[in-house]
Symmetry: C2
Subunit: 190 residues, 2 copies
């Protein structure tokens, strides 16, 4: 039987079956229906999710305008890291764009896992380092690249976004208007 | 005797004297004179620095224009994380803006430390998580805040930047022209 969680975790570290079993004992199956929220602004993010099915978006409201930070697809871990790590109220909303099935790991259980096994600690460090690399990459891209370049990178790096996310949300993610995104797409097609 | 490195590290974890001594055995005293480079674009970042004295900047060249990512002051750790973690060529330059004294820790020695002691692994995880929070914060600020707000935040959060960094570099860090920064400063003074 294919176990996407085990596959994912073993891409980083050679976890034993026993370790994975222990890890899974802490996980709570969770459903988030399309349009429902995993997290609201002002709440403290208490869980890490492993998304088994579905798609989430994390966004921020600024002067009533949505600024989309990221889209999160199945077969990956997700948490609102800044709120989760500091256990402080979040600036973000995390909403399901499709019906989601996920496994939730609570903050206190994750810390218990870190204390119980060096491999989980290694994994936590790798996850954080992974995020550093991704956020750093996106941060530079926003400073450096024009919208057309960023759209091209998105198509190349995350084709699923184009198939499953509405155009106006992709525009918000790129930091441009829906009209500007239409122009970019027309210019690319011609 | 005050030991800024020990002070810094013990803010995060209760390292024993023996652990700190072992850590220090791997550190190589390094000097980087004003205008010299710790790292050039295309090189692989091999070291983490603990800056004892001085000031560095990390920047990227795009169409011959410098885009400053961060200023790094004394009494902090620094590495070009994306290059260091993946051991791949860097997109950045890291230049001393003042004469620097630093302690350098090599990639292979850091990994040996991670393997030798769970506390160093914990520390490495905390450092990565710290960077996640800082970069995430700055990333949102660029998406959300106008230049005046970002300048005000800079004054509040990192007053040393104003005292020790030339105005045109602060403008580059904020992503605006030196003229726009002058206008912001004038409006604030009036």
């Amino acid at each position: 039987m294919i176990d996407p969680l085990a596959l994912y975790m073993r891409r980083f570290l050679n976890f034993s079956d026993e370790e994975l079993l222990r890890f899974k004992q802490f996980l709570k199956p969770t459903e988030i229906k399309k349009g429902e929220y995993f997290l609201q602004e002002g709440a403290i993010c208490q869980n890490v999710l492993f998304i088994e099915e579905g798609l989430l978006r994390i966004y921020h409201l600024h002067n009533d305008k949505e600024i989309i930070r990221q889209f999160i697809f199945e077969n990956s871990f997700f948490t609102e890291y800044e709120s989760f790590l500091a256990q402080k109220p979040s600036f973000y909303f995390v909403e399901a764009l499709e019906d989601c099935k996920a496994l939730a790991l609570h903050y206190k259980d994750l810390n218990a896992l870190y204390d119980s096994s060096i491999n989980f600690l290694r994994f936590g460090k790798m996850m954080a380092e992974n995020v550093v690399q991704h956020v750093g990459h996106r941060y530079m891209s926003i400073l450096r690249d024009d919208a057309t370049t960023r759209y091209n990178n998105l198509i190349k790096e995350r084709p699923k976004v184009l198939q499953r996310v509405p155009q106006y949300m992709i525009a918000s993610y790129l930091g441009i208007t829906p009209e500007a995104l239409s122009r970019i797409r027309k210019n690319m097609a011609s």
